[in-house]
Structure formats: structure tokens, C-alpha cells
Subunit: 465 residues, 2 copies
């Protein structure tokens, strides 16, 4: 390409834009034949080379078609479509892959999923909140809001946290898009590529993804009935410089276990001795019949970042997560949030506040806990009668960690269940290294219906002993 | 510490939990004196050493207080509070710092901000959508939804994009928490630490933060009236392996300029030659009186990731951003979204769909464009009369890039304006290297009211010539 002066460039650009807008406005109709390159060059007082360049740009824009030997025409169709969708709609090699495989088949029992059925959630309160918001004089429609999130909701959360014995001022609380965004903000603000973080095994798969994505070295310690394996952590800390430990305190995902006080105490001792930040993901806290021990309450938010949400009690659709942290770290995390998403939704935050203040939230929680307790009792007795081995007996929360009554390969069992419309979550999904294990995560609230029991009976018939 | 058997550990843990639950339930009231270490050891059949360990854990939990010489007591206060908030509520060294400095002073004119005033937005339609949603039989409260986002909204966006001459199937569209999350997902999915990305100078500050945070090498090219400086890009690509270019097409932030067709064409030629992904942030597209040229329409979403949102036309509170990308990349970005935030809010997506389908969106856009055009005319004539030099005359969109009628230092001018309740956005905020420049970003929709004109007049009086 020959170098061009600025004024030549300007004429070329102007002519191309002019023709394009005539085509877009319909002044040059689809199918109309355009002047030849030479004609255009004469009309617009540009070189033939520039005229050809103008047409090339219009052809590239899809506005003009070149027909060999005939010249240039205004394109008949406005847009072209790619070929039909490929079969793969979901990303591969993750928990979503497991769901994708069942696409096209009805899921009758979503026995391994991580959420509550719609009618266990607080839907009527969300509806009422929508009506209240619609009548509200100021909807806070403007701007991106306070980086920490809606102040009135943070004030309310400060009070709720006090009931969990956690003293967090409003400027220590950051509202997030679910607990997941809170974890993600901690990963990007507290960990650099090459840093070491410790997770629980089994643990939370999206956290493993976040850490890998960040280039963090992920080590794991076993999750036991009493909490994370503190002895393993202690010996690990002697050998490696670890920056963060991620742990579930109450009704751990996927095992259903709860960290006991003495383990919590030892974790914090280790954190102090080895200068470790503990990220306490406590999203199931409100499902506990009475206030549970939290690392954050022991530590008074000095070394602990406390994370929770209302996805398990109101609805995941509110994306109402939050974190509480030491003030300086909270400010850094709020800034990371602005970078990642320019703030949370003030509208959702108002809806959440309406639900919490006017929606009989405590009464709803009481009922939800009763339903979960009943489901735990029923599932434990029915499933153990079918030879299922339940590792722990949490009696509350969402999950059971269990062995099926068959030692057939995991993939085979999973496909058998899926063929019956039962979607199971194999334990390997929850292992940092993805290695096989013969435990499965079961969600007691999703294990109603006859399909899962029927599948368990079939297993016993097909593979007795 | 002496090694302990598992059964000893169990008794210690059990006793500590038992005492804690008695304290929490009130069975052991605040202020009550507890048994001595020796008594506890006898009662619970543990060693005195274990009994001391139990009390240490309860003290660490804040449930028990040790009083020297007197023994152990149930703590009187449930939670302790940290000292009062520090003055600094907002993160430092960013655009938020600029806002923070004005905290406590009323902002009368938010002349540099990036959003529209509440009454320019589509508030009534959002209210109507809230009412519609409240009556909807199925609110989609359950689960985390489709990783790509609500299918019905993606179908609608596919049609809207067709009007921008962009052919994007539903499986090429990913709904995001504002355009910001879309940018962030691209940064984390397409760039590794050490990769090189090119941004516009001036450009979008949160993007600079995302790239720094990711450890990406950020190079910049000038933003001119016709778009990014393609000659600078061409010479840069000869020297360096660049993976991504980030650019605004329509009404660029902060200059207000729009990329012309021939520049778009050359950008895509370079992208093809040097195997470059172009990330086209086109959030102001709906503010254009007629369909504008987009890189995505020229390229048919082969090398281009197209990003847009409804934050500038409906409300930022809906966080309704989206991206369109080649199918395989869209699937990767959807997966990155699940990792970062377990999906977007199905509730907000339903509200957005209601606004787009029932909210007279086109009529609203027409009115909004007319108001913006009128504001551009008024602000240009009033401000030029006060000696403001406007770099370009976009006549549409939100922004003007302008010099104030004074060569005083930027910080001094900014503080003078802030003292009058006028919040200005200095050009240096929009420079990748943060270096000083005597341009400012002005938002024409926020420049009504007498305060800004009064400030400009004061400037001319104080620093004539």
C-alpha cells in the first residue's frame, strides 16, 4: 500500500461512510448496482486505487457485494448467519459438562445439585419485595452506587452478623454477586501468581478454578468430621509458605460436616503463628438451628475474611452475597469489585433488604430448617435401607456425603442414573486433583420422588453383595 | 504440646462445644463464674491440661473471660466492636479516590461522571417490569441458571444485534454483570500474565486496572477523531507480539469520537495479519441516531468480541451487560463467568427482558437521543463562550473532551471546582500511565445547572488570558 496523505485518507473515509449511510438508510436500495471503480474515482475526485479501497471496505462491511465481471451491488441481505449451533452448548471438563450430558433428557431428580428447590425458597417474599420496589419513590436507578454496596443493606447485615457473634462495621462489609464473587475478589486481591493457597479435600470446585486461573499453587488438606485436618495443616505450614486457607465452617460442601470449636481455635493459632489469612465461606450459616461457631467471631475479623450469602435461604437469583473483612482489606476488596464489575446491583440490594426487613425472614428460616431436618431423617433411613453408606450425619444443611450400594465404576453408575432422569454429583468433582473416589454428594432437599430410590433398588438387584 | 489420642481430642472438643452451647443458649448466663480448671478436669474426666485448653478455646471464642486470680466467667458482652471508622472509606489512587475527596460535601454537579441522571433513564419501564415480574407465575428463583444467561433475553439480543448488522446466535451471546464483567471475563480468559494487550490513550480506567491485576503488559496507542491510531498500531505490531486490542467504537469514552469505517477496516486487516483479538466495547451504540459501523459486523464475530450493555439507556442498576463472540470463545467466557460469580441474576435478566419487550424501549431511545443532542448543542455553545476548547464535536453520546479556560495545574482546578460542588474528571484518570494532561472529560447530560458555568466564569476572571 502506498503511503497516503491525511487529506486523501479523509476523502476515502468520508466517501465510504457516506455510501454506507446511504445504504443503511435505504437511499441506495438492496440489489442496486453501484458506479464502477473508475466512475466512483471520477465522481469523488479520488484515485482509482482509493476508489477500490472504498469498495473493499464496503464489501468487508457486508454492505456491498462484488460480482465478478459485473461490478459492485448493494448487498441484498443485511446480515449473514453462521451455521447451525454445534451440539456443545456448555463448557467442557467441569461440573457443567456433567449437566450438559443430560441436555435433551428431562432431569427428574437433580440429586447432586447445590441449591434448594424453588418451593423451599422465599419466593413470596421476593414477589412482595418486587411490589414494594415498584412503589418506592427513589429506585436508585442512577450510577454505580457505593463501591461497598447499598449502605442500608450493609447496616442490616452488620446487625445480622452480630447475631453470629461477629462484630463487623458497615465499612468492613462488601456486598458481592453471590458468595462466588466474594471468593473471586479475595483470590485476585490477596494472591499473586505463584503464591500457595490451601483448600479442603473434598471442597468447592469453582474455588479450584479461580485459584488455577490466578496461577496460584493449590495444596489441599483433608476435610474430616470435625473440620479441616489441622495436623496436616500444621505439618504443611512447617514446610511451605502458605498465604491463604479456604474453608467452609458450617455444613461443609460437599460433606455436610461442621468445624468444631477446638479445631477452629487451632486453625486460628496456626494462622497467627504462620501469618495466614483464613477465608471462611459460611454460606450455610442461616440453616443452623442455633448460632454456630465461626472463625470470624473467634478472631474478630483480624485474620479472617468471612463470606456468606442468601442464595441458600432466599434465592440464588438475588445474587446476594457479602463478605466481612478487616477494614483496610475490605477497602481493597471493594476496589477490586469496582474493577471487576463496576459495583453490584443496587436494585437487587434493595430487594434483598425488603425481604430481610419485611419478609418474615426468621419465620421462613425456621420452617426451612424444619424441612431440612425432616428431609435428613427421611433420606438417611430410606437410603441406608438401600445399602447407601452415609459418611457423616449432619442432620441439617443441604448435603450428605455417601457411598452408593455398588462398587461399579463411577462413570457407569452416573450414566445409569442419568438414563433414569437422576442427576448425580460424583465425589471426584469436589477433589482438587479430580481423582476418582467412591463418594457422592447428595442434596437431601432434592432427593424426594421415587426415581432415586428406584435407581438404588435397581443397583442392589443388578450388583448384589 | 503433648501428643493426644483421638479419644482425648474428642472429649476436649465435645466439652468445649457443650459449654459454648450452654453459654449461647443462656443456660450459663453472662457473668456466671465457671468451675476452676481442676474442678472442670474432675467433672469431665479430662486432664487439667485439657481442661485449660478448653477454657483457652472458649476465651478465644469470646464466650469466656479469664480474670486473673479469680477464675473463668461467662463473658458479659456478646461482641466487641473495633475502633471508629478511619477517615478513608474509599480505595485510594483511583477514580474513587477523586470521589472520596468530596465526601461530606454535597456534589451539585457531577460533571465528569460516566452515567446519566436518574430522570434521563428508563425508570418507569423498570417499575412496570418490577410489577410484571411480581405477577409472573414462574420467577426462576431456583438454581444458578444457564451459564450463558436467560435464553429468552439472549434470543431478544440476537435480534437487537441484527439491527446493528451483527449476526450472533444465542450460543454466541453471554449475559454479564454490566459491560465491565464482560471485559473482565475476556481479560481472564484470553490473556495470561506477561501477554501484551493494547489499549487506547485516553481510555477506560477500570480496563487498565484489570490488565494490571492480571499481570498483562499494557501498551497504548493514541485515540484520534477517526478512531484508534492504526498507523501506530501497525508499527507496534511489527515489533511486538500483541494478543488483544481493546477499543470503543461509538462515542468513545472519554473523547466522544466514533471510529470511521476505513479505520475499522484497517484494524481488522491488522488483526488478521497479526492474529489479534479485538475487544470492541460498544456500550454507547444505542445512543447513535442510526446504526453505526461496528468491527463485529465487518468481521462477523471471527476475531472480534463485541461488548455492550443497557447501563447507559435503561439503568446501571440492572447490571445488564452482554458480549457476543465466536461460539467456542463464548463457551469459554461463559465458563469463566460461572467460575467468577456462578452466573448472572436471572431476576435482573427477566426485568431487562420486560423493559425491552414491553417498555417502549425504542421510543425511550429516540427521546434520550434528542435530549443528548440538545445538551451537546447547548453545552458546546455555552462552554465555548466561556473559553472552553472542545477537542471534537460528537453531537451525540455522553462525553466531551475539553480544555478548561485556564492553564493552572489540574489538581488546583479540580479542588476549586470541588469547593463549588462541581465534580470534574481530569484527563489523567483516563491515561494508561496516569500522566498529566490538560483535557477533562465532561458528561453533557450532567452539565446543566448554573454551578459549572459560574465556575468557568470565575476561572476566566481569576486567570484571564
Amino acid at each position: 500500500l502506498l503511503p497516503k496523505s491525511d487529506s486523501q485518507r479523509h476523502v476515502v473515509a468520508h466517501t465510504a461512510d457516506d455510501l454506507l449511510s446511504q445504504i443503511r438508510s435505504g437511499a441506495l436500495a438492496p440489489g442496486v448496482r453501484l458506479p464502477s471503480v473508475r466512475q466512483l474515482a471520477r465522481e469523488r475526485k479520488v484515485s482509482p486505487f482509493s476508489a477500490a479501497e472504498i469498495y473493499n471496505a464496503l464489501v468487508a462491511a457486508g454492505a456491498v457485494e462484488a460480482q465478478a465481471g459485473l461490478g459492485y451491488f448493494v448487498t441484498r441481505r443485511r446480515v449473514t448467519r453462521l451455521a447451525e449451533p454445534r451440539r456443545q452448548e456448555f463448557p467442557t471438563d467441569s461440573i457443567w459438562e456433567r449437566r450438559r450430558e443430560t441436555l435433551g433428557r428431562p432431569i427428574k431428580v437433580d440429586a447432586g445439585c447445590g441449591w434448594l428447590p424453588a418451593d423451599w425458597l422465599h419466593g413470596e417474599a421476593v414477589r412482595a419485595a418486587l411490589r414494594t420496589a415498584a412503589r418506592q419513590p427513589d429506585l436508585h436507578m442512577e450510577g454505580y452506587g457505593n463501591p461497598f454496596g447499598l449502605p442500608a443493606l450493609r447496616a442490616h447485615l452488620s446487625t445480622l452478623l452480630e447475631a453470629r457473634s461477629i462484630a463487623a462495621r458497615e465499612d468492613q462489609i462488601v456486598l458481592t454477586q453471590g458468595a462466588s464473587q466474594a471468593l473471586d475478589l479475595v483470590v485476585r486481591s490477596c494472591l499473586r501468581p505463584g503464591d500457595v493457597a490451601v483448600v479442603e479435600n473434598p471442597g468447592y470446585p469453582p474455588l479450584f478454578e479461580m485459584l488455577k486461573d490466578r496461577g496460584v499453587q493449590m495444596l489441599s488438606i483433608a476435610r474430616n468430621e470435625a473440620g479441616p485436618d489441622v495436623d496436616a495443616l500444621a505439618s504443611l505450614l512447617k514446610r511451605r509458605k502458605v498465604r491463604c486457607l479456604f474453608t467452609n465452617t458450617t455444613y461443609h460442601n460437599p460433606t455436610g460436616t461442621t468445624t468444631i470449636l477446638s479445631v477452629a481455635h487451632r486453625l486460628l493459632e496456626l494462622a497467627n503463628r504462620y501469618d495466614l489469612t483464613i477465608v471462611e465461606d459460611d454460606i450455610f450459616a442461616d440453616l443452623a438451628p442455633s448460632a454456630t461457631t465461626t472463625l470470624a467471631s473467634l478472631d474478630e475479623l483480624r485474620r479472617v475474611v468471612y463470606i456468606s450469602s442468601f442464595s441458600k435461604t432466599i434465592s440464588p437469583a438475588l445474587r446476594a452475597g457479602f463478605l466481612a473483612a478487616p477494614p483496610a482489606l475490605a477497602a481493597r476488596l471493594a476496589r477490586a469489585k469496582m474493577t471487576a464489575s463496576l459495583g453490584s446491583s443496587q436494585l437487587l440490594e434493595q430487594l434483598t433488604l425488603h425481604v430481610l426487613t419485611q419478609g418474615h425472614y426468621r419465620r421462613h428460616l425456621k420452617r426451612l430448617r424444619e424441612r431440612l431436618a425432616a428431609a435428613h431423617m427421611r433420606v438417611a433411613s430410606e437410603f441406608e435401607a438401600q445399602g447407601v453408606e452415609i459418611a457423616f450425619q449432619p442432620q441439617a444443611g443441604l448435603f450428605l456425603w455417601a457411598k452408593l450400594p455398588s462398587r461399579q465404576p463411577v462413570g457407569k453408575l452416573w450414566r445409569m442414573a442419568a438414563a433414569d432422569g437422576v442427576l448425580l454429583a460424583p465425589g471426584e468433582l469436589f477433589r482438587p486433583d479430580g481423582s476418582a473416589i467412591d463418594y457422592w454428594r447428595l442434596n437431601v432437599a432434592q432427593c424426594g420422588g421415587p426415581e432415586l430410590l428406584r435407581f438404588l433398588r435397581t443397583l442392589q438387584q443388578l450388583f448384589p453383595g
